[in-house]
Amino acid sequence: MSLISDVETAEPKRRWRWDPGNVAWGVLSFAGGIGLWWLATVAGFSELPSPWTVLTRMIELGIDGQLWGDMYASLRRVLIGFALGAVLAVPVGFLMGWYRIARVIIDPWIQFFRVIPPLAIIPLAIVTLGIDEKPKTFVIFLAAFLSAVVSTYQGVVSVDKTYINAARVLGASDGTIFARVVIPASTPFILVGFRIGLGSAWATVVAAELIAAQSGLGFRMQQAQLYYDLPTIFVSLVAIGILGLLMDRIVVRTEERMTHWQERV
């Protein structure tokens, strides 16, 4: 899953294709990893719970409903925070890309907040926003916004000048150029930004729940740690990984659908 540090190199790239050969290798690789884990626990190298124990706990927690509740709580925070961040990032990114003045005013702030890990904002957010959902949503919003805004902005500034000229000589006004050239031309960048934004939102929610929450996968892990409940920690980790992977795939699919016109090298 992409993290904030990917922003610098973010640009639309050729992506991995979902072909049966790749899937088979992926499955094989996972199976091998779980096999090793199982061997390690059987041989008594560690006190880790075996894959079997974890699976059993997962089923228990699933039947019990607790797992779903935790997943729902975490997912809800991510989606709300991410949606807010993305909705704000697109216009701000466009503004920065299109107007030099907006860029010089906004950019220092973004650069400044980008170097602060979102989690470092939590104490401040809790003090000022209270202990309910607001501080968590805010921190996730911030993480998603910062990742997505940089990408959008880069997309706008890297729109090929010849497209703009081609539109101008056909009689397009600035407004038309913006709507019919700049927006479509930067869509691939924006979607990459969304992908990175969703990744950092997901990374942030779990950490935020470890620090301050009464529900969610991160909160569950933190509770399990108090009781030395390793299987539950594992169940949470696996759930986090699976949800993260699923969300990422959904964005990648959307991206492919919306930018099918792109030349892929």
Partner: protein
């Protein structure tokens, strides 16, 4: 004589200011008549694209006058169609939508747009690719689509900046013939930039040779070959003779040294 379609009057273009100032074009005076087809050649960096972009209204000039139809150019407009070397097709639009782009800006209805787009795509032989995206086209097809897009808005001037430069020799010759064919029917004014001396002579009624550093007028060579021109023209001694004159004008220094 009738008013020229395009006129440069003592035009200079300076990029940058102060110590970074660079004179790309100095004191260029040139007239292109209505319905004339003129090619511009010269060494790389002599200001060919700069001169053309000033007519297109994409860059301002520093001094002098750039006139189209006797009026100073103040910005781009659909009366001057431009064909870029890099095709500049919008990759997110289909071939037909690319051609319709300018028509939509003119406020034409859906039916009319489609009809016109298909007409011009037919002229360049791309009607079967109307719903394809540019990424699926070859270089020559892309350029034909760009030509259709420029023609569709019915400009009275066509500005072409090395339009066939990136194409193979055979495609290039085909497109040159097509251009002359269309031109002989509609007699639009054409300003055509090229690196290729043969192409310059084959197409033009006059070849404008620019010199570099600073960009300025070197020579204007009349091409006294009757239209329509067919492939035989390329092999004629008259063609060879004019071609050699242009070549010498472009590579003046080499010619003097020899």
């Amino acid at each position: 004589m009738a008013d020229p379609k395009i006129a440069f009057r003592n035009v200079s273009k300076v990029f940058g200011t102060g110590a970074d100032a660079f004179t790309a074009i100095r004191d260029l005076t040139l007239e292109i008549a209505d319905g004339e087809i003129v090619t511009v050649v010269g060494p790389s960096g002599c200001g060919k694209s700069t001169a053309m972009n000033m007519v297109a209204g994409l860059i301002p000039h520093s001094s002098g006058e750039v006139l189209v139809d006797g009026r100073p150019v103040s910005g781009p407009g659909p009366d001057r169609g431009v064909i870029f070397q890099q095709y500049a097709l919008f990759p997110w639009l289909t071939v037909r939508e690319n051609v319709e782009f300018g028509l939509k800006l003119q406020g034409l209805g859906r039916q009319e747009r489609r009809k016109r787009a298909m007409h011009y795509l037919g002229l360049v032989g791309l009607q079967d690719f109307a719903e394809s995206y540019p990424k699926t086209l070859s270089g020559g097809m892309k350029q034909r689509c760009a030509i259709a897009r420029a023609y569709a808005v019915n400009p009275s001037v066509l500005l072409m900046d090395e339009p066939f430069g990136a194409l193979d020799a055979l495609t290039r010759v085909t497109l040159q013939n097509q251009l002359l064919d269309t031109w002989s029917k509609d007699r639009r004014t054409v300003m055509f930039i090229t690196h290729d001396v043969d192409e310059a002579v084959f197409i033009a009624s006059r070849v404008v040779v620019l010199a570099a550093r600073p960009g300025r007028l070197q020579e204007i060579i009349e091409v006294d070959l009757p239209y329509p021109r067919d492939e035989e023209v390329r092999l004629s001694p008259e063609f060879m003779e004019i071609r050699n004159r242009v070549w010498r004008a472009v590579y003046r220094r080499d010619a003097q040294a020899a």
